[in-house]
Symmetry: C2
Subunit: 183 residues, 2 copies
Amino acid sequence: MRADARKNYDHLLAVAQKVLQEQGADVSMRDIARQADVGVGTLYRHFPTREALLETLLRSSFDDLAAKAAALENDAAADEALVAWLADIIGFTHEHRGILAPMMSAIEDPDSALHDACVRLKAAGASLLRRAQSAGLARADLDGAELFDLIAALAWLREQPAHAARSERLFSIVRDTILRVDR
Amino acid sequence: MRADARKNYDHLLAVAQKVLQEQGADVSMRDIARQADVGVGTLYRHFPTREALLETLLRSSFDDLAAKAAALENDAAADEALVAWLADIIGFTHEHRGILAPMMSAIEDPDSALHDACVRLKAAGASLLRRAQSAGLARADLDGAELFDLIAALAWLREQPAHAARSERLFSIVRDTILRVDR
DNA sequence: TTGATATCCGGAACGGCGTTCCGTATATTT
DNA sequence: AAATATACGGAACGCCGTTCCGGATATCAA
């Protein structure tokens, strides 16, 4: 990569990080380019799709979430481990406003730059769920896909201004539902 | 209203109904005008916002939902009544793809043409919930706002292609959560 | 140092969007 | 038939995502 290209690439990443954080993941590509004092062509050359940009920006966060999940696999309390990770991932989507929509399309599109990250998250959740189920700490009639749906739904709710106040409340309701073991 | 205006109004409504059903509630206003062989100005004159158009189109559906709720108030089984109505409203949002987003903003915006309809739905759900709670058939630690959130989340999930297959499954999970009475 | 060349940049261009506005046409009333 | 009120169409404005290419710039070879 040519030196000027590298510089632009790094600069774009830095600016995009700030702008995304301020405006949400659905800012216009033009805005990002403008804020970086760069032509829109330059932005698209380095990141051919919005998802490619998001993937690059969030890779470390995704890695963190995966690492956290792996660490929690060894946590003594399988139920608390699962719940803690759920809270993490919902916090993540909330922290990165607007990321949910691209993730939901990415999970269905193997060509999306975000596809792998989503699949990894889903698998990590499924694994934590299975462990909790094996320990008899989570309801048995739930699979990874369903868990992912529940997480996504909670994350979506959290993006709705009208719902903000009830965020923790609904999380705890869903938590109880997941952990409830019929006895 | 002038005769030609009335004609256009009716025609627009008919065309919009068809187009919305085919393309979802987020079709471009231009498309609607085009399909109706009408200038875009004419569409906007009759329906100054997309929400105004949606409200007019769906008014009868909203009324039906309200009437259904009222009828269910007299149903012997308060729990089944609540669940039946939940299924109805989720079916409604699914039938009218794309209606959820405008509804979620409308509920926070008293000036939206959809605001009243949303408030009525929320109130109807809350009422059915209270009745089930009084009968000891629904968990007591849930209020109307939270119920509305749960419905919205399920409706949102149902709009996600990736989730389609698990639609009924998750509905029944949430149903159990709502109806579960700690004993 | 000086070409030559590969690479990269900026921004115009295309088609689409929501929305506003107004000159023109049509219906209604006098 | 003339006057008036009303409604119509679509151009215009400023946004958007995305593509494309002429010109600028960095790198490399001589």
